[in-house]
């Protein structure tokens, strides 16, 4: 029986597995590099939005929240917040969030497009003008699993900042920009889920990752035979 030539077997394994997954490994390192280089807070767009102002309320001047509970059966939570400097009670009802003027106790109508523009302007930290305001009824890819409708407010700028606001309350739902979109695309390539971009358990990924692991092991094995020549020369010289 012929002796197994291990260097040859391992080299062939490494070569053929690399042929199978090579392109994906390049994509993994490229997309991985993108994701580690740009800070995740930047990706999330923290710099695009202002944090809400923390300021004391004059509770004595406000309608007690028990009135809101009585007016909205099934409410699970009533929260005091501000909308364009006005204190409002936000009731979480089975039909979604509803706002009440906290001073008068009257229910507020859903924001108009004009109000959405004003709210978006307040939230956004940049100077760019509003390019487009749309009430979306179908979800764009970048809103992932979030259910429409919502207001989409696009601002001018190289990174195309976009805010999504609630049609019921005008609150900020999401923010998107070019770097986020790039990250989302990189993530799609990284987890190999080209439809939903969210399934990290898909069979394609599982096969590719384990094949890459085998490719890496065989590569590490090859290192044993990759640095011998100089050693031998030294020995003969000595």
């Amino acid at each position: 029986m012929a002796k197994i030539r291990w260097p040859l077997v391992v080299r062939r394994t490494h070569k053929w597995l690399a042929l199978l997954v090579g392109l994906q490994v390049v994509l993994w390192t490229l997309t991985g590099f993108y994701m580690v280089v740009i800070h995740i807070d930047t990706i999330h767009g923290d710099h695009l939005v202002r944090a809400p102002v923390v300021q004391p309320y004059d509770l004595a001047a406000l309608t007690p929240p028990s009135r809101i509970v009585a007016a909205e059966p099934g409410t699970s939570e009533v929260r005091l917040q501000r909308r364009l400097d006005r204190p409002v009670w936000r009731a979480e009802t089975p039909a979604g969030p509803v706002l009440y003027d906290a001073a008068s106790g009257t229910r507020l109508a859903p924001p108009t497009e004009q109000e959405i523009r004003a709210l978006a302007r307040r939230i956004y930290t940049g100077d760019g003008a509003i390019v487009a305001v749309r009430l979306l009824t179908t979800a764009p890819q970048e809103m992932q699993a979030r259910k429409p409708p919502y207001w989409q407010v696009e601002f001018a700028g190289w990174n195309r900042p976009t805010l999504y606001l609630s049609p019921q309350t005008g609150e900020l739902l999401s923010r998107r920009h070019a770097l986020w979109r790039g990250f989302d695309f990189a993530w799609m390539l990284h987890i190999m889920d080209y439809d939903e971009r969210s399934d990290v358990n898909n069979p394609l990924l599982r096969v590719a990752t384990w094949s890459t692991f085998a490719m890496a092991i065989s590569g590490a094995w090859l290192l044993i035979w990759s640095f011998p020549r100089r050693k031998k020369k030294k020995k003969t010289a000595a």
């Binding site: 070569k15 690399a18 042929l19 090579g22 392109l23 490994v25 390049v26 993994w28 390192t29 490229l30 991985g32 590099f33 994701m35 580690v36 280089v37 740009i38 800070h39 995740i40 923390v54 300021q55 004391p56 309320y57 509770l59 004595a60 406000l62 007690p64 929240p65 028990s66 509970v69 009585a70 059966p73 099934g74 409410t75 699970s76 939570e77 009533v78 929260r79 005091l80 979480e92 089975p94 987890i191 399934d199 990290v200 358990n201 898909n202 990924l205 599982r206 990752t209 384990w210 890459t212 692991f213 490719m215 890496a216 092991i217 590569g219 590490a220 290192l223 990759s226 640095f227």
Partner: protein, 242 residues
């Protein structure tokens, strides 16, 4: 002619040396990626899923006006909500978050029993242990402040974390998540906090990995000859000749 051979040799050398220096991390990336792809994401859990139940507040109960609760100082936030079946006010005060009974206005502290009740709403299994933590451990690292850890006697060794300040359910962790988190640590190379994947170390190694994969991809074109694909042609030829 000589030039091309030289560049292939150069690429081979880069591939070899980067592989020697960063190969172990590449191996760990492949391994941790493989394991994370294998672990069921629903069993891992804890990723932005809707947390906690929404309990409707009873419209029949008479509630006090939060303005009537004394001794809080300026209040910068009020939330009327449910805590284990009773209405409470969650108030943001200069001294932190305070809870008050919405019926009589009395201050509420989250004790072990309340933590048990809140945790049991998320898991039916019997409770094995309840402990208070002054601040988040590695498992509940996304949350701030003091909290209760409620351990369940179930197959997943689940632990629920309940805020000691607000009594809100924070997160549920089980053994699948713990396994996942270990490999996630290997993947993001943040061995202390396990959260950041934007630190200089991973950027440096990631940059090296680009060279490893780039040269490797180039070498693919140099490592295969027509002879390597003969078996393909032979197989195709066989049914034709038969």
């Amino acid at each position: 002619m000589k030039r091309i051979r030289l560049s292939t040799l150069l690429f081979r050398r880069i591939h070899k040396w980067v592989g020697l220096v960063l190969g172990l991390q590449f191996l760990l990336w492949a391994l941790s990626g493989s394991v994370m792809a294998l672990l069921d994401k629903d069993e891992v859990g804890g990723h932005g899923a809707a947390m906690g139940h929404a309990h409707p507040l009873s419209a029949e109960t008479t509630l006090i006006d939060p303005a009537g609760i004394a001794g809080l100082g300026p209040v910068s936030g009020v939330t009327l909500r449910d805590l284990a079946g009773r209405p409470v006010y969650e108030l943001n005060t200069p001294n932190g978050i305070r809870l008050a009974d919405a019926v009589d206005g009395k201050a509420i502290a989250i004790d072990a029993d309340t933590a048990r009740t809140v945790a049991s709403m998320m898991n039916d299994a019997p409770i094995r242990d309840v402990r208070q933590l002054a601040k988040a451990n590695l498992e509940a690292r996304e949350h701030k402040g003091a909290m209760w850890r409620v351990d369940f006697a179930d197959a997943a060794n689940s632990s629920a974390y309940v805020s000691a300040e607000t009594g809100r359910f924070l997160v549920m962790r089980g053994d699948t998540w713990r396994t996942w988190d270990f490999f996630w640590m290997l993947h993001n190379m943040d061995y202390v906090n396990r959260t950041s994947f934007n630190h200089p170390f991973i950027i440096f190694v990631g940059f090296g990995a680009l060279w490893l994969s780039g040269t490797g991809f180039y070498l693919l074109f140099k490592s295969f000859s027509r002879a390597d694909f003969r078996w393909l042609r032979r197989r195709r030829a066989r049914p034709a000749s038969a």
